[in-house]
Structures are given as structure tokens and as C-alpha cells.
């Protein structure tokens, strides 16, 4: 055994082989990293546009979600996303595409709103329901669809009314009209619609005095789940709105929560006046959705947001037409002589 231990191995692998194999391993990893690079960021977009046409709905949903996460890099996919939101046969795919559009481009979101209007009057209830779901997934960008969605609350089909209630809750602005519509929906003959309406007050929409009476009545609803949700919503009604504003202002510091906080501030109306200085700073945010929501929040605050007038006048020349439109509405709502003069100048410029 000792003799065997002393015996030498012949050359196992030559040093030249070692160098070659190490070089091959390095090249292999470089190749893998290049593959990864080619499939991430804006380079993934053409492949994802192809996936939007995949026969499998889950694949199309994945592609939409992926494009959402790419942000502005995915803008070249907007035509395909608009097509998917409006014409995909599967409701969940259209909804995912609408969510992506909401994050990418406000004007594209408005294109989907305009494209959805005819679908709201389609004789097929499934198509009408799908249109409601798509509009809801566009969020506050679908504000122009609110009057049409309110009329959908009189639809003969329960799933359509349910879809309209959910969409109104997700859009959330203008608050007064939506609260009135949802309060009306809490008296719907269908328990599922009443449940959806109560859920909006329990989760999305701040409970105003106008909604309290209807919610109190709903506590005696024969459907226990509806009554329980009314209780939850009424608990929220008792909270101090000033605390809400402080919490929402803190949320504005978190990038992932910014649009949610802005939407909630826009729903609080004059009670959000304390947030005006921070909303003014958001008017310069790089994301158009945030600038739009800040202008909407200032509009809902009204004359108390007087200090925002110079920045709102500047926002009349924003790169995004939806932000410009919202800034004009905010100036109209604030109504100071300076704001009115700026709007007159704008109107004269448009007329010329």
C-alpha cells in the first residue's frame, strides 16, 4: 500500500487543457449573461408584443404584466396593448392590458376609454361587462367614462351593474358624482351589486356624510355579508380625515404607493388642503400619471389650493395632453383672477 501511495499519476489533464477549459467556462458564462441582457429591459419588448398574440390567455396576461413592470421602456408596445385591451376575447387579458396602459401612457388610456364607449352599449351583456372591467382597470385615467358608467347602474343585467360599481370605485374621481352613484347602487335589488357598492366604501372610497345614511340602512340588509361590509365602511366613516391626509402625505414618499396616495387625496376634496404644498411639487413628477393625479387633487381642493396657481399655469404646457386638461380644470376650480386670466389666454391661443 505504501508503495502504491508513492507511485505518481501520469499527467491527468495538461495545463493547456486547463487553460482551454477555463476559457470555455468564461465564454459560457459571458454567453449566459448576454442572453439575460437580451431578454431584459427594453430589449424584451418586441418578444413581449409577440406574446400578446399568444393563443394562451395566461401568456398574454403575463406579457401585459411584464410590460407594466418595464415602465416607459415599454411605450413601443402601446398600440398592441390598446388592441389587446379593446379586442382581446378574454376579459382578464383585456384587464391586464388596461392596467399596463394606465402605468405607461395617459393619452393611450384615454384612447382605450374612447374605444370602450361603443362596447358599453353593446347588446351582449358580456361585452358590456368587459368594457366596465377594462375602464375600471384604467383607474383615475378613465375619469371621462364616469357619466357613462353611472348610466350602466340601470343596466338590466346584474353582472354589468356589478362591473360598473367596481369600475366607479377604481376610478374614484370625481368623488361627489361617484359617491352619489355608489350610494344609489347600495339600494340595488341584487345583493351582489349592493355588496360591491358597500365594498367600495369599505376599501376605496372615503365615506362622506351623504353615504352614511345609506350605509346605516345597509347594516340591516338581509344578506349578512353586505351588512358586515356596511359595518366596516361605517367604522372608516368615524376616522379623522386630517389623520388620513397626514398618512397619505407620508405615503407620497414611497415610490410604489405614490399614485394610490394621490388618488386618495383627490378623493378627500377640501379636507386635503394641508397636502397642497406637496401636491405642487408632484406637478413636476417624471411620471405623467402622478402629475395628472396631483392636478386632480388640487382641483378637488378648490380655492384653498390658491398657492398652486403658478405651477398649474406652468402645467398648462405639460408634455402630456391629459395633464394639461386636468391642470386647466384645476385652475377653473380654484378660480382666482390669475387662474381665470391664464385660462382666458389659453382659450385665445386655442382659438387662434
Amino acid at each position: 500500500m505504501g508503495q502504491r501511495a508513492r507511485r505518481r499519476w501520469p499527467s491527468l489533464v495538461t495545463r493547456r487543457h486547463i487553460a482551454l477549459h477555463l476559457a470555455a467556462l468564461t465564454a459560457f458564462f459571458v454567453f449566459l449573461v448576454v442572453i439575460l441582457w437580451l431578454h431584459t429591459g427594453p430589449r424584451a419588448v418586441p418578444g413581449l408584443i409577440d406574446l400578446l398574440h399568444d393563443p394562451e390567455p395566461t401568456t398574454r396576461i403575463l406579457a401585459s404584466e411584464w410590460l407594466t413592470s418595464l415602465g416607459r421602456d415599454a411605450r413601443s408596445a402601446l398600440p398592441a396593448l390598446i388592441e389587446t385591451a379593446l379586442h382581446d376575447p378574454t376579459q382578464d387579458v383585456s384587464a391586464a392590458a388596461a392596467t399596463a396602459i394606465r402605468a405607461l401612457d395617459l393619452q393611450a388610456a384615454r384612447d382605450v376609454v374612447n374605444g370602450s364607449f361603443p362596447m358599453l352599449w353593446d347588446p351582449n351583456a358580456e361585452v358590456r361587462r368587459k368594457a366596465c372591467v377594462v375602464l375600471g382597470n384604467l383607474g383615475p385615467a378613465a375619469k371621462p367614462a364616469v357619466p357613462s358608467l353611472i348610466t350602466m347602474l340601470d343596466d338590466t343585467e346584474e353582472p354589468v351593474r356589478e362591473g360598473a360599481v367596481t369600475a366607479l370605485g377604481s376610478i374614484g374621481i370625481p368623488q361627489a358624482e361617484i359617491v352619489a352613484a355608489l350610494t344609489q347602487a347600495m339600494q340595488d335589488p341584487a345583493a351582489a351589486v349592493r355588496y360591491r357598492a358597500a365594498a367600495q366604501f369599505a376599501v376605496h372610497i372615503p365615506v362622506t356624510a351623504a353615504a352614511v345614511a345609506a350605509l346605516v340602512e345597509l347594516r340591516h340588509d338581509p344578506d349578512k355579508s353586505v351588512a358586515a361590509l356596511a359595518d366596516v365602511a361605517l367604522e372608516h366613516a368615524g376616522q379623522n380625515p386630517r389623520h388620513d391626509v397626514s398618512a397619505l402625505m407620508a405615503l407620497l414618499e414611497r415610490p410604489g404607493e405614490k399614485d394610490y396616495a394621490l388618488q386618495r387625496l383627490a378623493q378627500l376634496g377640501r379636507e386635503a388642503a394641508d397636502a397642497a404644498p406637496i401636491l405642487i411639487s408632484v406637478l413636476k413628477d417624471p411620471l405623467a400619471l402622478n402629475r395628472y393625479l396631483a392636478a386632480e387633487a388640487l382641483r378637488s381642493i378648490g380655492p384653498a389650493a390658491e398657492e398652486a396657481v403658478p405651477e398649474l399655469i406652468a402645467a398648462l404646457h405639460d408634455a402630456d395632453p391629459v395633464v394639461r386638461e386636468s391642470a386647466a380644470e384645476a385652475l377653473e376650480a380654484i378660480g382666482t383672477p390669475e387662474a381665470k386670466e391664464a385660462l382666458n389666454v389659453l382659450r385665445r391661443e386655442k382659438a387662434e
Binding site: R4, A5, R6, R7, R8, W9, P10, S11, L12, V13, R15, H17, I18, H21, L22, L25, F28, F29, L32, V33, I35, L36, H39, T40, A44, L51, E56, T59, L62, E65, W66, S69, L70
Partner: protein, 163 residues
């Protein structure tokens, strides 16, 4: 070399096998998991893997790459350690081989356990585990090497004792 072709084949087998095995391990486990736990067909499971290879929130390709990186370091080490010097004795070679096998076994076991845990309990901690796994595996190279050599020495003592 002609007299003993097996050591070269063994070294290169360990070298490429460890890299390719560690790279494909998470993908194979995910495919098997989708096939067994989510009751997809094998073809559906493979399609699922392909779709989620680069998808945000999944990034299985990156997971494979991160898992394989420490194995590549270990593979480079084993190639040089076992193959560079032709004058090592048979006993010395066996000790080195035991150390290298100790490293690979410990790393593969840890990698396997991490991937299976992340699949069984899919939450935020799984992502954290994937982030830390390469560093943990790098630390396990010397630890596993030492453990392999100690075990080999114990095995030798045991054989001597029996003799």
C-alpha cells in the same frame, strides 16, 4: 494519460457537470414541481418555465445563473487543484478529490434545499434566499473541502483499524 484516462475524464466530468448541474437544478426542480404539485403536463410545465425564465418576479434564468456562479468558482478550483500538478501521489490525489467532492456535495445539497424551500414556501423570503445563495455557496467551498478531507481521513483510520 493513455494508461489512466479515467482521472482526466473524472476531473472534466466534475468540472462541467457541477456547472451545468447547478445551472439546470432550479429549472429541473421547478419543472418537476409544476408537473407534480400543480398537476400540469410535462409540456405545460416546460412552457411555464420558458415563459417565466426572464419574467419580472420570477427570473428563473437569473436564479439558475446566480446558483451556478459559485459552482463555476468551485469548478475552476477543482480543475486546477486536481489537474495542474502531474506529480501528485495517488494518496495526495485521493485526499484532494475527497475535499473537492465534499465541497460539491455540500454546495449541491444546500442549493437543492434552498430551491425546494423557495418552491414550497413561495414568499418574499424565497427572493432573499436567492440573493444570499451565491455568497453562502462560496463560503461552503472551503468548509465542504475541509469536511471532505476530514471524512476521508476518518475513513482511512477506520480502514486501518479494521486491517
Amino acid at each position: 494519460m493513455n494508461e489512466h484516462p479515467h482521472p482526466a475524464r473524472l476531473i472534466l466530468g466534475l468540472y462541467w457537470g457541477s456547472v451545468l448541474g447547478s445551472l439546470t437544478l432550479p429549472w429541473l426542480l421547478l419543472t418537476l414541481f409544476e408537473y407534480s404539485a400543480h398537476r400540469r403536463t410535462l409540456s405545460e410545465a416546460i412552457t411555464y418555465l420558458r415563459l417565466h425564465f426572464f419574467a419580472p418576479g420570477h427570473q428563473y434564468f437569473l436564479v439558475g445563473l446566480l446558483s451556478a456562479a459559485p459552482f463555476a468558482v468551485c469548478a475552476a478550483f477543482l480543475l486546477v487543484h486536481l489537474g495542474w500538478n502531474p506529480d501528485v501521489s495517488r494518496a495526495q490525489y485521493a485526499r484532494r478529490l475527497a475535499g473537492v467532492l465534499g465541497s460539491l456535495t455540500l454546495m449541491l445539497g444546500t442549493s437543492f434545499w434552498t430551491h425546494v424551500s423557495a418552491l414550497l414556501y413561495p414568499d418574499g423570503q424565497g427572493t432573499v434566499a436567492y440573493g444570499f445563495l451565491p455568497y453562502i455557496l462560496l463560503v461552503l467551498i472551503p468548509l465542504g473541502y475541509g469536511a471532505g478531507r476530514v471524512l476521508f481521513a476518518f475513513a482511512g483510520l477506520f480502514r486501518h483499524g479494521e486491517g
